[in-house]
């Protein structure tokens, strides 16, 4: 049951990941991704019926912080690292379609 991944799908995934590829690169990546996906599909052989997934191996539970505010005094240093900054705000090209 090999999943075949089309170039269009790869292009869609690239869009989600905010990466752009030339047509040639897309071709190349699709091939490689296909191969890796095929490798990963080896898992289909394993019977996982009723097996609980493991997303983390930490044994920690309720590792929580008390609600106490702290000022780490990093504002200035953080703004200095920003590629563009104005009036203590991070400057970015206009957000169009301003939804959210």
């Amino acid at each position: 049951m090999a999943t075949s991944i089309s170039k269009e799908e790869v292009a869609h995934v690239a869009d989600l990941a905010k990466l752009s590829f030339s047509d040639q690169e897309l071709e190349h990546f699709t091939g490689q991704l296909q191969e890796i996906v095929a490798l990963c599909e080896k898992m289909a052989e394993v019977d996982t019926e009723g097996v609980k997934p493991t997303f983390s191996v930490t044994a920690n539970v309720n590792h929580l912080r008390e609600d106490v505010a702290e000022d780490w005094h990093q504002k200035k240093a953080l703004l200095e690292q920003a590629p563009e900054e104005a009036a203590d705000l991070i400057k970015v090209p206009a957000i169009l379609n301003g939804e959210d």
């Binding site: 989600l16 905010k18 997303f55 983390s56 930490t58 920690n60 539970v61 309720n62 590792h63 929580l64 912080r65 008390e66 609600d67 106490v68 505010a69 702290e70 000022d71 780490w72 990093q74 504002k75 953080l78 703004l79 104005a86 009036a87 203590d88 705000l89 991070i90 400057k91 970015v92 090209p93 206009a94 957000i95 379609n97 301003g98 939804e99 959210d100």
Partner: protein
């Protein structure tokens, strides 16, 4: 109102910012209105290598809301990442509780305008983080302030039980009050502390499948929600009647035209690639934790109204006004606790709060908690009125003083505002005034009632206005009749 042939189905997703001291995943302060990026650190900026630690206070607060909405608390919560890229979303994922929301299966009883009560189901509610804030310049740039980033939100998702714009409005009003009385948020709409995402669809009466949903996001006024829904009802009905199909789309409410405007058509569902957040530990909530939160949960507005009417003899209307805000209700309760616990005193406290205090707040544009008035002092003044120590007229000056933080009894004494009610002090005064005004006695005997008014006036003058008018009147009549 509405559409004759169509049934409207509305579901609301309401986001409420919770007023914890620190953020959900970083210890930066949560505080509205500070200088840009003042309340941010490397965690809020999504720096490489930083890790989140969840704020227990945010879980406590979320649980308060869950309990107030009669929801079942989830025993084990695992956080999820919702992946999307946006300038105000520094990690490019939002930490939320998609798979295991904090609460499920709650309800809210809503008073409808026709006087009936409708129970609206709460599908689920969960805690998640707010994004930062973007402002859009006219210079081709946008500007990002991450102060709000990471503020804990509780998102309350209703079942699609709302059948009209009016119901949606009533639901939001009621929900806001319930939230207010959990003490987790002041739910100030103008500061964006409460925002609604609206889903609305129409279907012909009798149809057993829902129509296509249209979504409107982030509306921060209940009136706008109602107005947007009214417009959508008409728009969608028109589309269907003309044989068209409502598209699945996101629209925006446009206030000036009271209409909704298309933002984008959803051809495919957003792919947020949710997955369990590996950087946070799971949260297990046992009964002891739930009990602790319950113990801290303030009494609801409804419960308070009931007790105000039954135990303190207030009118239902007054009880409702007092429970408009948690601050006002808490203040009233504290005043009752401070001694204004008789029906008369409680009524007076209520009248002051609804009348003079509210007027003061409106005039000065301040919040109750920002004034110098204390429940103890308001109760103290009311007690002075109740036991006749001061007149209601004198109370006006005392009221002004206690608004400035004065202690009522000390102030009244210092200002000589204390009312004289003792007959042993007043009787000699009465006799003196009568002795000085034989003509008035004659007039009285001759049936001229006006003479009494004149004599009272003289007596008030003599007592520098401190005589208790009721007592004085009684003593004067007694003496007059003796002569």
């Amino acid at each position: 109102m509405g559409n004759e042939n169509f049934e409207t189905t509305i579901g609301l997703e309401v986001h409420v910012e919770m007023q914890t001291k620190s953020k959900l995943l970083s210890p930066s302060p949560v505080h509205y209105g500070d200088a840009p990026n003042a309340n941010t650190n490397v965690i809020d900026w999504g720096y490489p290598g930083v890790l989140p630690v969840a704020n227990k206070g945010a879980i406590d607060y979320g649980m308060r809301v869950a309990l107030a909405l009669h929801a079942d608390i989830t025993e084990e919560i695992r956080w999820d990442r919702k992946n999307y890229v946006y300038p105000d979303n520094p990690k490019s994922y939002q930490t939320t509780q998609q798979q295991t929301p904090l609460g499920r299966n709650g309800y809210l009883d809503v008073n409808l305008p026709d006087g009936s009560v409708k129970r609206i189901g709460i599908e689920e509610l969960h805690v998640e983080e707010d994004a930062g804030k973007n402002t859009h310049g006219d210079d081709g740039y946008s500007y990002v302030d991450l102060n709000r980033q990471g503020t804990p939100l509780v998102e309350i998702v209703s079942k699609p039980d709302l059948a009209s714009p009016e119901e949606a409005y009533a639901y939001l009003e009621q929900l806001r009050r319930v939230i207010l009385f959990t003490g987790v948020s002041e739910a100030k709409m103008q500061e964006g502390q409460m925002r609604a995402d609206v889903n609305v669809s129409l279907r012909p009466y009798g149809s057993d499948t829902y129509g296509t949903r249209v979504e409107m996001k982030n509306i921060n006024s209940f009136h706008y929600v109602q107005s947007a829904l009214e417009f959508e009802e008409k728009r969608q009905a028109k589309v269907i009647r003309s044989g068209g199909q409502v598209r699945q789309e996101t629209r925006r409410y446009d206030e000036p035209t009271k209409s909704t405007v298309l933002m984008r058509v959803k051809e495919v569902a957003d792919d947020y690639r949710y997955f369990p957040e590996p950087d946070l530990s799971p949260i297990q909530i046992g009964q002891d934790w739930i009990d602790r939160v319950k113990a801290d949960l303030p009494k609801s507005a409804e419960d308070r109204q009931k007790s105000y009417v039954a135990d303190l003899g207030l009118e239902q209307y007054d009880a409702e006004v007092l429970t408009q805000t948690l601050a006002m209700a808490n203040f009233f309760d504290a005043a009752v606790l401070a001694g204004a616990d008789s029906k008369g005193a409680a009524k007076r406290v209520a009248n002051y709060l609804i009348g003079d205090v509210n007027a003061y707040l409106n005039k000065n544009q301040v919040e109750l908690q920002d004034t110098k008035l204390s429940p103890e002092n308001l109760a103290g003044m009311v007690k002075l009125i109740e036991d006749g120590t001061i007149s209601t007229k004198q109370a006006k000056k005392v009221f002004e003083a206690i608004m400035e933080g004065e202690e009522p009894e000390a102030y009244a004494k210092a200002q000589g505002l204390v009312q004289i009610s003792d007959p042993a002090v007043l009787t000699p005064m009465v006799n003196e005034v009568l002795d000085d005004n034989p003509q008035s006695i004659e007039d009285f005997k001759g049936g001229k009632d006006r003479a009494v008014g004149f004599l009272i006036g003289q007596l008030m003058k003599k007592s520098k206005g401190q005589a208790n008018p009721g007592v004085l009147n009684k003593l004067l009549m007694a003496e007059l009749n003796k002569r």
